[in-house]
Symmetry: C2
Subunit: 651 residues, 2 copies
Amino acid sequence: MEQQNQLLRRQLSISQNQLIQAWGNEGEDGAEKIGEGTGTGEQGATKCKEKEFGVPKCEVLHIAIVCAGYNSSRSVVTLLKSLLFYRRNPLHFHMIADAKAQVVLHALFSSWNVPHVEVSFYLTDNLAADVSWVPNKHYSGVFGLMKLTLNKALPQTLKKVIVLDTDITVATDIAELWNLFSKFGPKQYIGLVENQSDWYLGKLWKSHRPWPALGRGYNTGVILIRLDIMRQSNWSQKWKLIAERDLTTLFSTQLADQDIINAVIKQHPEIVYNLPCQWNVQLSDNTRSELCYLEVTDLKAIHWNSPKKLKVKNKHVEFFRNLHLTFLEYDGNLLRRELFGCNHSRSVIVPNPLSQLNEEDECYEFRRARQTNYRTHLFFLDNEYDPTPDGFDVTLVATLSMDRLQMVEQLLKHWDGPVSLTLYMSDAEAQQFLSYTQSSEIIASRKNVAYHVVYKEGVIELIHLFRNLVICKVMTTLNTSFKVSIQLFSLQAWIVPAFETQRYRLSFPRSKAELLNRLDMGELFTFRYHVWTKGHAPTNFAKWRTATTPYKVTWEQDFEPYIVVRKDVPEYDTRFVGFGWNKVSHIMELHVMGFDFIVLPNSFIVHMPHAPSLDIAKFRTSPQYKRCVKILKREFVDDLNRKYNSDISLQ
Amino acid sequence: MEQQNQLLRRQLSISQNQLIQAWGNEGEDGAEKIGEGTGTGEQGATKCKEKEFGVPKCEVLHIAIVCAGYNSSRSVVTLLKSLLFYRRNPLHFHMIADAKAQVVLHALFSSWNVPHVEVSFYLTDNLAADVSWVPNKHYSGVFGLMKLTLNKALPQTLKKVIVLDTDITVATDIAELWNLFSKFGPKQYIGLVENQSDWYLGKLWKSHRPWPALGRGYNTGVILIRLDIMRQSNWSQKWKLIAERDLTTLFSTQLADQDIINAVIKQHPEIVYNLPCQWNVQLSDNTRSELCYLEVTDLKAIHWNSPKKLKVKNKHVEFFRNLHLTFLEYDGNLLRRELFGCNHSRSVIVPNPLSQLNEEDECYEFRRARQTNYRTHLFFLDNEYDPTPDGFDVTLVATLSMDRLQMVEQLLKHWDGPVSLTLYMSDAEAQQFLSYTQSSEIIASRKNVAYHVVYKEGVIELIHLFRNLVICKVMTTLNTSFKVSIQLFSLQAWIVPAFETQRYRLSFPRSKAELLNRLDMGELFTFRYHVWTKGHAPTNFAKWRTATTPYKVTWEQDFEPYIVVRKDVPEYDTRFVGFGWNKVSHIMELHVMGFDFIVLPNSFIVHMPHAPSLDIAKFRTSPQYKRCVKILKREFVDDLNRKYNSDISLQ
């Protein structure tokens, strides 16, 4: 076995060298031939040859990716990170996306704001008609066939494109792959790597009947397409005719676009250019991929095309997994690197607002945080939310960081309505969060919870900033009796009275009567009773005890109740990042706008104790922080009075 | 200004091209000359030329680094990570280290266990005599001169070595630098990059008198040394004579070894080979480094040689900082990648114990965790600990993860004796921890606290494992009255009675009387009174109330008190990673060994409430976890009975 293996490696090595030789002779650009070295010299020479044909500096490389649904939108990010990590050219991504993926990826790219990256979107809805008639047994459904439409979907001016599946991780500069376009013969317009499984050889099981293919066939996880020639060759008509013919006997595709592309190639072998196998190392089970890479340097692109993904069996899977994890955990913010040799490119250099800040300013860190464009991944997990027909359902909105994660389950137990949770996390933490949700039955069973990830900024600043954008209140659990259907008018804020326990093991009071009883027993307190009475005093807890109908209360300074409002309410003021005055300023603005504050008589919140966060600890000790919050308060009130022509004065 | 800048860039570009040309002509190995391209082709050709001279596959590259003290041992790790990330050859590190650094780095490398990496240590104590006579004003002190002794320190058989400062980050495969040895002329034995500041030009300030140097002089942050030729040239004698001569007028070195090496080169310019400036891009203020890199691809090695480090002013500092942060935060475990093309090298392949585990085993995750070699960074922060003369001081030992970090300050307030804290963290978290300690006055003021980092394993497994190696107990604060000098005999365990509060804002009881008073008031409880009485029942709290002298108690099953023992006590059994039975099994072993359990009458611990950790949450819900703990318990007791010939039976 081991011997046979070595023999295979040796054979492969010989044939690869022959390939190198062939490339050398085939030179189309008049470059001189490189002398053949011996031993390792040959390796060097290959690279040389590739580099020599090189991609012009700052040339834009075009990459098309089909991406549908929330889960693919999440996994494609690892591919994007690996591409951006190694790239040295401007990139233009062409995202063939469904509506869900487009929302996610549009927000991601625009908040990520990577220099020298452009993105175009093509909605799959507009392309589906061309492929939806093909019966497809593959789990990818209609999206698995989208790659067949690229000649029509992508701009007519675009001549060359690299097409990648979302489950690819690259291990080198993608320009090396782009380089291979220069090797295409005049009739070749599709570059592919041979399939590394025996699928197309047939007979994997008794009734196994694969689509026709040349030998082992080709894998379509990585494709180089010369779109200009493809269009000239009448691609759309060509694949349709062949698919129709084969469907008469095979009834449906099994591996989606790959079956059809292989059937076309079987009939027109002249269109295909064979890519070196290192550009699509396929890690499914029973793969021959091991024959492909003799050395680490050979690995160019890993294709996680097994349904087992990272758990696939492979001799070197630890190596591949490490590469994948590298980018999974990689802080995407670090990829916002300028290709400073390419500033003459089309992209307009937007003046950096940060550069206009004064580092000597006492509030520099706050102002910087406010200006920071936080990379945002909307709908990190799959979710579905159907608004109630009357349009009056109430969404619980909260922000949290990693240290509050264990409260999510508890929250969901108390609130079965829609929830919007924003998670302030690092890339690595987001992966931990993902694992956590996958192991939680409660979380898995809820489809009406949207999780949005706002990525933390770099490690070094982290501790010095205070950037829970909206204060963390997942610790707060709402009683379900709140979900009476309330009709909100636009200038109304309904107040949910807030209580707290200082004990850990709380059984949540099931009724207002039980709550009042335990309040009297000293087990519960009104919220922040011991440290900051002003924040909730206007709620008038004495009146609430006996209230059976909603009652209006009067705003006072420092009032910060939890409220239910229409979603068109003004947003929080971002100058108050972190701990301090964010709720207070928000309530103040509502007051100035003329909102009525109405207390709900039968609803309540109980705040659970939690260890002080590092940010709060910081707040308590830093005089600079306190001075700065004071300055920001003054600025906020001035802006508010100007905007609404009001006359709030700080006490 | 901008125009001038462009002019400079153009000039530089021309001269670099001339350099390339020169290399091409100078070819020593008979390789054919590569045709000159136009524009970007030239860039390609350079790389080609380098690659063509290439380092033989799997050749071991030797890298020497001088590293002294705890802080350097920490910062060198980022350099090591960047080297390992890009390398494709086996590496042999030669660490010239003081005793402190050697302890840290030895433990780090052996727990890191990176394939195809060898490490040798050379104690600076043995080399100091050769350089300590040189007066040095540079903050690096005697260590700053160590590089002068490499010809003697390193093995006589070693012919070539790359020498790097700890504040370097590399941005490409170090083999590219190693390649440049082949360009050395016969008399050249030291390869250096020109200094990028005006220091050696003199007159930076009125009385500024630098050491003699050729032009701007050379920077010694990156050195290529041909040790064989250096030795033949009588290096030791040479530098000493020149240093003695210059010291008669200059009195001391200002930039340590760099001054002396420059003085030697001034007199013997034939020994130096000029490295391309991209191999030592110096980021000090007022640097000319910007002239060095025209494009991203040019950057090979960044030298953070400003005292301002990451805060240095530089037009592209964000780019450099991102590169540095990439490796600062990078999960070092991912660098344990095998260079599978090089398995014929010297390093012996140790059979992986993990491969002997059965993945179907219900306890697979536990057994795997036990076998895992956790990368460990001892003494992550500077510290000094002087044992008391009588040898009877008590060290508080605890383990914690990131979510307990804010308790460290509180702990240190209650315990001013020596502390050993083991932090279970990711690389990124360790950097957050570092920032946190730097902003904490309490932590900064304590020198008798040792912080050891045990790095977490990969993200994906994290949630599925339970690996607080020793249960987190930083939440527990000890009263200071405990520090009576107690003399411990070898078979004694002193028990510190444990209480708990369910409230957050605890003012710590200052005396036993106050504690008892608050116990009666219902503010405090005996530890885990509500959920797990058995764990501490044998302590006999009723007796403790009135005790004024130590008293012996009898061991019972499930007893898990906090204890004070001699440090030669057996270690925890690592099969109980995470939450569950680790303390219980340890106390059981002490019992079987014949330990007496003696309760301290005037000491106590108060446990503070904390949110349940994710691991505990997991424990409470996973039936598999519970089953597995049961199996492990059984195995432990069987092993124990076998080892001590005892007859413990599980109830």
